[in-house]
Amino acid sequence: MSDLTSMSVRALSKMLESKEISSEELTISYLERIASLDRDLSAYITVTADPALCAAKESDKRRKRSESLGVLDGIPFSVKDNFCTKGIKTTAGSRMLENYIPPYTATAIRRLTDKGCVLLGKTNMDEFGMGSLCMNSYFGPSKNPADKKRATGGSSGGSASSVAASMAAFSIASDTGGSIRLPAALCGVVGFKPAYGAVSRYGLTAFSPSLDTVGVISRDVSDCDAVYSVICGRDEKDATSIDVKRNKKSADRLAVGIISELIDRPLDSTVRSAIQKKISNILLLGADSPTVSIPLIERAAECYYIISSCEASSTLSRFDGVRYGYRADDVSDIDELYRSTRSSGFGREVKKRIMLGSFALSSGYYDRYYRRALLYREALCREFDRAFEKFDLLVAPVYGSTAPLLSDPPSAEKLYQEDIFTTPASLAGLPSISIPCQAKSELPIGIQILCKKGDEDILFSFSKTLLAEEGVLYE
């Protein structure tokens, strides 16, 4: 029954509906696959086998009574370990929360379990979402299923790896500056970052609240759409959440723009060739695809690092060793408790970003960095608005190379610069999807498609056509 684990959510749902398989059998298949593969891949930090089997049995009982909760009832999934799950360890990839067990569940996860989804476990990630390769986890790096010597991309590396290696039907992850799209691209799966606010952030461990979004990693676009439809929508517990009105618009003869500042950047030859091939396919599909210039994109990564680090210096101030999480021993007073707990509880990358944020917000530097970054973000949003007056969709690479070797990762500076591909959509709060654009036998490469808020149906429809053009990856 191992074939089950590589099927799409739609196919599995049909089999569950026709009682060809049970959710319990399906869940056991995934758990067996996790047991056999995850020792090498380190996609999961915590596997919740017993609760998963209980949930699967409940789903089977509902189906027997013809009381199915919908297409996702009985489908097993994984969750990035920065979403709070009641009674289940939630570490955010950090020593600071190594043994933290939350007393409540994040809205996005609750909406899925309310629809009968079966939680298989919590996935590996860069500490607090800070990283591009999933090599900053306190629990060690996750490894790429396409080549275990290579990184998965980050920060949601465990989520992407769990889906790519068929250790979950889909995964819920967060994307602050590319954390869903990048690992999805490097692992060869679909990764969707919704518009800012489209999915509630309640219960998501905050990194940068004005940029954090909750999205989906899946095997194909239809699965992504089905999951997104369940988790999206206004939540009273998140004041920034909204109901996104999805525009009904024909996907025929779309105007598709290639972002020149991103396509003209240095790209590995394999990446350039795969992207160019996809662009040729876009032309064959009948879409217009001239290039479009969004000049401010050139400094998107810098702006992202200023804003996200400033916000992180504030959001991570809650970790003080008093109410929950790691606490340093042998301290004499409260000040030493704070300093010692935070210095030994946070990893190096997190400390660097907190310090950059504190510096950029400090007296004498606030105007120069933070306020300027806010102005830049506003100007970038306006440039995107102008681009979307002419185009329905925008296309760009996701990353400049294939997955880097774990033994030879790029420098931190190079990684920051590479974030130029994914941070523009984050800064502008736009929906963006990464879909595979390379044959399964080769190292995965992704192509990114952006749309304006409300045009998600067009985005999904176009992405499906583009994927189907070379055959659906998994069926």
Binding site: A239, T240, D333, R339, M355, L375, Q417
Partner: protein, 101 residues
């Protein structure tokens, strides 16, 4: 920006962190690189007045109605140190007079 003037200990203090001697040099170098990277944003011409900054957030507030919250026991469960079964316990916040002198 004069890179030589970065005061690592002052930034660490603002961040609620301390820097040990083993990591000082490499952290200093990393901070210089990050600040230098961020610095390039100052070279862009942006024709927007600060008052024009909008937010991507909806910020639709819910009605302010008291609801049942988590109980004290549940909240104290995750703390490393609890006093009297009712309070979070922390080391001394005010040093006594002898220690100060």
């Amino acid at each position: 920006m004069n890179k030589e003037k970065i005061d690592l200990d002052a930034i660490a203090a603002l961040s609620g962190l301390s820097v040990n001697e083993f990591e000082r040099d490499s952290l200093y170098s990393d901070m210089l690189n990050m600040i230098s990277f961020a610095e390039s944003i100052s070279s862009i011409v942006i024709d927007i007045h600060p008052k024009e900054i909008s937010t991507t957030a909806a910020c639709k507030m819910r009605r302010d109605i008291p609801k049942e919250s988590l109980d004290r026991y549940t909240l104290l469960c995750e703390a490393r140190s609890v006093s009297d079964g009712r309070y979070f316990s922390v080391p001394s916040a005010i040093k006594d007079r002898e220690e100060k002198s």
